[in-house]
């Protein structure tokens, strides 16, 4: 590790004038940081939070140690409220990653494919690898910080392409600089894959849910998964006259080379998403799966967060993304949990 990320974070943190600017900085970092970078930042924060040792100075050779000490300088010079926000944020990120039960970070490296698209891969080309095309929700993330999500997906078996909906309209206008419509965006993704994968699946959360289903149909993918996606009856998807989204779906369904493998996952206690599951299953051959709550608490829109808190997100995503998943195992993982094991306060948000 070069310490570059920590130095950059310390510099930007220093420039924040208000707590909201600190939060904005954290959101920006959350939307791109890899698990390894979260670990790196947490290690630096541990050094930064420790008292200055005798004879210790920033004149050290190790760039990581130097950056850590620079972070300590920053934390001691900014308003205490800002420092508290920063340390709490780093601690929360670390705690969320620890819910994976893994001692170290999943070794994803980030490769920017454009301003709002990034490929996360460990760089190895194993023959059985899967590509997960991920449509983030309006929060620009997969219902949690990107690094937290990636920590729960096996890097040795998956490459993860994350698309961000910067216009926050369900990708209906594409992504700036890439495509001007959802259909064109999906086509660009479909025709620009450099590597061959054993399977290619789509996963979309919230406002990215419907685009993930669309992508699975348009690109004839091995699986399409929506988590809390919009209902086809949602006014935002009534773009094709009386038939609404049925028209493009019928068109792509007729061109498929195999029956579609579609899955809609939703929080069991979220009425709107439950209704969306019903409406989507009336339109397409989609299987629906309700995620129960934890410890008597309801399961809301952010179903993945419920599973994250439960400590079962890794196992759930592996089954959900698999083209030959065990439905019994998936259902078991989704069922209501009697306990709130591993709960971390502060919803990482969608």
């Amino acid at each position: 590790m070069s310490g570059q990320l920590i130095s950059e974070y310390a510099k930007l943190l220093q420039s924040c004038k208000t707590p909201n600017q600190v939060n904005g900085l954290h959101i920006q970092f959350e939307n791109s940081m890899t698990p390894a970078e979260v670990f790196e930042l947490a290690a630096a924060a541990a050094i930064a939070a420790s008292p200055l040792g005798a004879g210790e100075s920033t004149a050290v050779d190790d760039p990581h140690a130097q950056a850590s000490l620079a972070l300590r300088d920053t934390l001691s010079s900014i308003p205490p409220t800002h420092a508290a926000y920063a340390l709490r944020w780093i601690a929360n990120m670390q705690a969320f990653l620890s819910l994976s039960g893994k001692a170290g970070p999943e070794p994803y490296l980030r490769q920017r494919m454009g301003q709002y698209i990034a490929l996360y891969s460990d760089g190895n080309d194993l023959p059985g690898k899967r590509l997960a095309i991920c449509f983030a929700g309006a929060g620009q993330r997969m219902m949690m910080p990107v690094g937290v999500f990636l920590q729960h997906v096996d890097a040795s078996q998956n490459d993860v392409l994350v698309l961000r909906d910067v216009a926050r309209n369900g990708y209906r206008d594409g992504i700036p600089g890439i495509a001007d419509s959802l259909e064109e965006l999906i086509q660009v993704i479909g025709t620009n894959r450099k590597k061959t994968y054993a399977s290619v699946v789509s996963l979309g959360v919230s406002a990215g849910g419907m685009p993930a289903i669309w992508a699975a149909l348009q690109l004839d993918l091995d699986k399409g998964v929506s988590v809390g996606g919009n209902s086809p009856a949602d006014p935002r998807w009534q773009l094709w006259g009386d038939e609404g989204i049925k028209r493009p779906f019928d068109y792509y369904m007729a061109r498929l080379t195999k029956p579609p493998n579609l899955l809609y996952i939703y929080g069991a206690d979220r009425a709107r998403d439950r209704d969306a599951a019903t409406a989507l299953s009336e339109l397409l051959p989609v299987r629906t799966l309700a995620v129960g709550g934890n410890g008597g608490k309801p399961s809301g829109h952010n179903a993945l967060y419920t599973l994250l808190q439960r400590g079962t997100l890794t196992a759930f995503l592996e089954e959900a993304l698999s083209t030959d998943e065990s439905w019994d195992r998936l259902s078991e993982l989704a069922a209501t949990s009697p306990i709130e094991s591993g709960r971390v306060e502060n919803n990482p948000a969608s």
Partner: protein
């Protein structure tokens, strides 16, 4: 303000990210700083409007 019906902020079902983004948007557009911890203590949308206006 136009309209006669007030809205409890809780009905907006904001998660922590949405709270942060709302506070950031308020600050950027009005210069008034309300942090998420304060926002959670505001019950109605009209109360939030009064804090800004």
């Amino acid at each position: 303000m136009a309209g006669t019906t007030d809205v409890p902020i809780a009905t907006l079902e904001m998660d922590s990210l949405a709270e942060m983004e709302l506070c950031i948007a308020i600050e950027v557009n009005t210069g008034i700083t309300i942090v998420p911890e304060q926002l959670r203590d505001i019950e109605m949308l009209s109360d939030l409007a009064k804090a800004i206006l």
